[in-house]
């Protein structure tokens, strides 16, 4: 029941979460860092009790639109966080947040929480690895940008960020949604106008996904790994549909012919759709070997 309820609330928050937050509705999800299915209190005593043998390396996983941290879970159990813990000694933490809010607002919330986390973690944090799927990657970018603006201490601990299926240059589906809403609104008919009103109910978080360029650049002080998938191995289908939600150009934040960014690596997984990217051992292996290479 709990998991079903969490997932239902996640979908509801993704669809109209900005409205829920604006009206102080009790169904709005508050941004929280989770571990083992429980919310963490970002105070030293509470964290020391929750992590008796706290390590100095943390990985923070940020899910995408209409999801919870459960989205990362693989069919055979475990997720990228537990795999990073097993192989590279990272302690996994999972952000749960209201995906209907503006990405910038969620980025600011994540920035605040990372600041509190670094201050309250029982031992000195040596490294903070940030891993985002889909919208989660944009939230990470936003948080890093706010961290740089405010000269945040936690940002000094971030050496690497990984973005999985993140629409750095917008998601085509949302752009289609915008176009459809505009067309419906232009038709002088009460029913089509009602449909346009319904389409425009979608949350600010969803609308942000349509932006063709993320308003803040990737920080050059951090190494970035951008992972994309394609639903088909056929080049023309791959170019047309990407991972079914995000095009390869958007997920790798580069158009054909653009020069490579010096601190950015990217990997494309043919045959992997948007959801598979968050759960496949091949993707994990790619991330793990990149982390080991870039040590």
């Amino acid at each position: 029941m709990s998991q079903k309820l969490d997932n239902t609330l996640a979908v509801l928050n993704g669809a109209i979460g900005d409205y829920l937050a604006r009206t102080n509705n009790g169904l709005a999800i508050a941004a929280t860092l989770m571990h083992g299915g429980r919310a963490l209190v970002l105070e030293r005593e509470a964290l020391a009790a929750a992590f008796p043998s706290a390590g100095s390396k943390l990985v923070v996983l940020v899910h995408g639109l209409m999801s919870t941290e459960d989205f990362w879970r693989q069919a055979e159990g475990g997720d990228y966080g537990t795999q990073f813990a097993r192989d590279l000694g990272y302690t996994p933490l999972y952000l749960r947040y209201n995906t209907g809010l503006a990405i910038a607002d969620n980025g600011a919330a994540l920035e605040r929480m990372l600041g509190e986390l670094v201050r309250a973690w029982p031992v000195e944090i040596a490294e903070l690895l940030l891993l985002g799927h889909s919208m989660g990657g944009l939230v990470i970018r936003s948080a890093c940008h706010v961290g740089r603006e405010t000269d945040a201490a936690w940002l000094g601990r971030v050496r690497r960020c990984i973005y999985v299926g993140t629409p750095h240059r917008g998601a085509p589906l949302e752009r289609v949604g915008r176009l459809v809403a505009k067309v419906l609104q232009a038709v002088d008919d009460p029913y089509t106008r009602l449909s346009a009103d319904l389409a425009n109910l979608r949350s600010q978080g969803i609308q942000d996904l349509g932006d063709p360029r993320h308003p803040v650049p990737l920080l050059t002080s951090i190494e970035h790994l951008l992972i994309a998938g394609t639903i088909s191995r056929e080049p023309w289908l791959a170019a047309l549909f990407g991972d079914a939600m995000v095009s390869v150009a958007s997920a790798t934040d580069r158009a054909r012919g653009e020069p490579d960014h010096p601190t950015t690596a990217f990997e494309v997984f043919p045959g992997f759709d948007h959801v598979a990217l968050a759960r496949r051992p091949e993707v994990y292996e790619c991330m793990r070997s990149w982390c080991e290479r870039s040590r």
């Binding site: 029941m1 309820l5 169904l27 929280t32 009460p190 029913y191 009602l194």
Partner: protein
């Protein structure tokens, strides 16, 4: 689970249903009136039936508006009643526990999710 957190979610659900009925009824009312206006506008151009058409149009619009207003009034009354019930549960811990018997749907089974 703390009852207060569970109640917050129930309150949230109530507010959401209330808002959906409120905004939904206004939107459907607008469509209803706009759709009816078209044939009435045409009829009101025909001299032979213009007078009666205007009367029927006005009666129609009053009936439609009254009906949707009644829906919103009932919605508001049910909302107020639910608020009073939630306040009672808030004030009475014993009642609060009864609100979530073991087999009832639990809107906040995890104490730490809020």
């Amino acid at each position: 689970m703390t009852d207060e957190r569970g109640l917050n979610k129930w309150r949230g659900l109530k507010a959401l249903v209330h808002d959906a009925v409120e905004h939904g009824s206004r939107a459907v009312e607008r469509v209803h009136l706009d759709t009816a206006r078209r044939p009435f506008t045409i009829l009101e151009q025909v001299p032979a039936v213009a007078g009666p058409s205007k009367i029927v149009h006005t009666v129609h619009d009053v009936l439609v508006t009254t009906t949707y207003t009644a829906v919103r009034l009932v919605n508001a009354a049910v909302g107020k009643a639910a608020d009073v019930a939630f306040d009672l549960l808030d004030d009475d811990p014993a009642l609060g526990k009864q609100a979530n018997p073991p087999h009832a749907p639990d809107l906040d089974p995890d104490p730490d999710l809020d």
